[in-house]
């Protein structure tokens, strides 16, 4: 009996150690093969001259192709050669709300949400400010009269595309990121819809998309600027309030304005370094 038991124990222990050895060997083989495979594919891609940064030609731009030639095309777009910048000249804004309408059409923004909006400020005598924005300024503004208002003006607002953004810092899955061409983008396939970024944004420019259940915000019309066009809101603005430029181009007019004139940003105390610069901002605007 005792002998049998010993033999059985021995067999058992042998089999277990063998099993472990087999398992570890097979796992190390799999890991090694996968890593090796990765190297091989990278080397093959390099040998084949593939460059993933360049986008293959795809005729996704609708409409006529008789427009004036855009500054660059989608095929030769390299995100490392651009640094986009946005300028809002608040002295020129007349509050027509065409930018909001254009954004709604271009990006299919759902009702009751806005990626960009226009606010009207009524600065009161020593009592702060009254702010109104009916439907984000989508249908324009109606005349309103308050007593003891010293000045009123319009402020267009948009995602500020901060360099040190609180929204992308809190993202747990890396879905919200700052791209090499200085645009704050959301990977909506990777977003899990937790809503941390919506709480973190100090400018409240993010919202939860009611159908997709992911975070959504202004992308500066990334599909337009990479094809060489302006964003839809800049294109629709009839007064030149909204301007869009490239900081890497030495002869860019917007770069000239930003580097020579006195520009401000919204909420500089948050230290987020916004890429949307304002001309003629009032103290009460935040």
């Amino acid at each position: 009996m005792d002998d049998n038991k010993e033999i059985k124990d021995k067999e058992k222990s042998m089999t277990r150690s063998e099993f472990l050895a087999y398992m570890s060997a097979s796992f190390t083989f799999m890991v090694g093969s996968s890593i090796f495979g990765r190297f091989v594919t990278e080397a093959e891609a390099k040998a084949a001259g593939k460059d993933n940064t360049k986008v293959e030609k795809k005729d996704s731009s609708g409409g006529s192709n008789t427009d004036t030639k855009p500054k660059h095309t989608e095929q030769d777009y390299d995100p490392f050669n651009h640094a986009w910048i946005y300028l809002i000249d608040t002295n020129k804004c007349i509050g027509c709300g065409m930018c909001v309408r254009a954004c709604k059409i271009e990006n299919k923004v759902p009702d009751k949400f806005n990626r960009t909006w226009v606010e009207r400020y009524h600065i009161l005598e020593g009592r702060g400010a009254l702010i109104d924005s009916p439907e984000g300024g989508l249908n324009g503004f109606q005349p309103e009269s308050y007593s003891k208002v010293t000045k009123t003006f319009f402020i267009p607002k948009i995602c500020n595309h901060c360099k040190k953004s609180p929204c992308s810092q809190v993202c747990p899955v890396g879905a919200s990121y700052f791209s090499p061409d200085q645009v704050q983008l959301i990977d909506q396939k990777r977003c899990i819809g937790c809503g941390y970024c919506i709480q973190a944004c100090p400018y409240s420019s993010r919202f939860m998309h009611p159908d997709k259940h992911v975070a959504d915000k202004c992308f500066w019309c990334y599909h337009r600027i990479t094809k060489g066009y302006d964003p839809a809101c800049v294109h629709a603005c009839p007064t030149g309030t909204r301007k869009f430029g490239d900081m890497t181009k030495p002869d860019d007019p917007i770069r000239m304005i930003i580097s020579t004139e006195r520009v401000q940003v919204l909420r500089p105390e948050m230290l987020t370094i916004p890429q949307v610069k304002y001309l003629g901002l009032d103290m009460e605007v935040r």
């Binding site: 150690s17 472990l20 996968s34 409409g63 254009a102 005349p143 983008l185």
Partner: protein, 160 residues
């Protein structure tokens, strides 16, 4: 060696755990993740491939077929207003190979004119503005849907 079995077991277990972690990471992290930073680099390409709807530059698309109205608009006071602020997006009107597919929708309501020309305190005073109710009283008409364009041509509102 005989008394060091437990160390080998521990080493095997460690190799097992580390290899499982590596395999799980390889399976569930997307390929292009971490190429440029802590995000999926393929998303840049996906964002670029979204089709444009609000198409065209200021006047150049429309002048191909509509010479008269576009030429009028270029030299009028409305030269800075893009055509698509009053007309619909061009992708609903022209297909990709320059063929007409539908009638261009146009906003002829007075509300669209009032977006810019309704008298507001906040507006810059250089812009021509009217209080629409008073203006219609002066002209002796009532408020209808397309009341503005009966007198003013939106392509050249006030020729000079």
């Amino acid at each position: 060696m005989r008394y060091a079995k437990h160390i080998f077991r521990l080493a095997l277990l460690l190799i097992f755990v580390i290899s499982t972690i590596i395999i799980v990471l390889r399976l569930f992290v997307p390929d292009s993740f971490g190429k440029y930073g802590n995000y999926r680099a393929d998303n840049l390409k996906e964002q670029m491939e979204i089709p444009m709807i609000w198409q065209g530059t200021r006047n150049d698309s429309c002048i191909v077929c509509h010479k008269q109205n576009t030429n009028k608009k270029i030299y009028s006071k409305h030269k800075n207003v893009p055509c698509m602020n009053c007309h619909g997006p061009i992708t609903e009107h022209v297909s990709r190979d320059n063929k007409k597919i539908a009638v261009m929708p146009a906003l002829k309501s007075w509300k669209n004119c009032a977006r810019c020309h309704q008298k507001l305190v906040a507006r810059a005073h250089v812009l021509p503005q009217v209080d629409i109710v008073d203006h219609l009283k002066d002209q002796g008409t009532s408020l209808e849907e397309n009341v503005c364009i009966q007198c003013h041509n939106p392509h050249s509102p006030k020729p000079e």
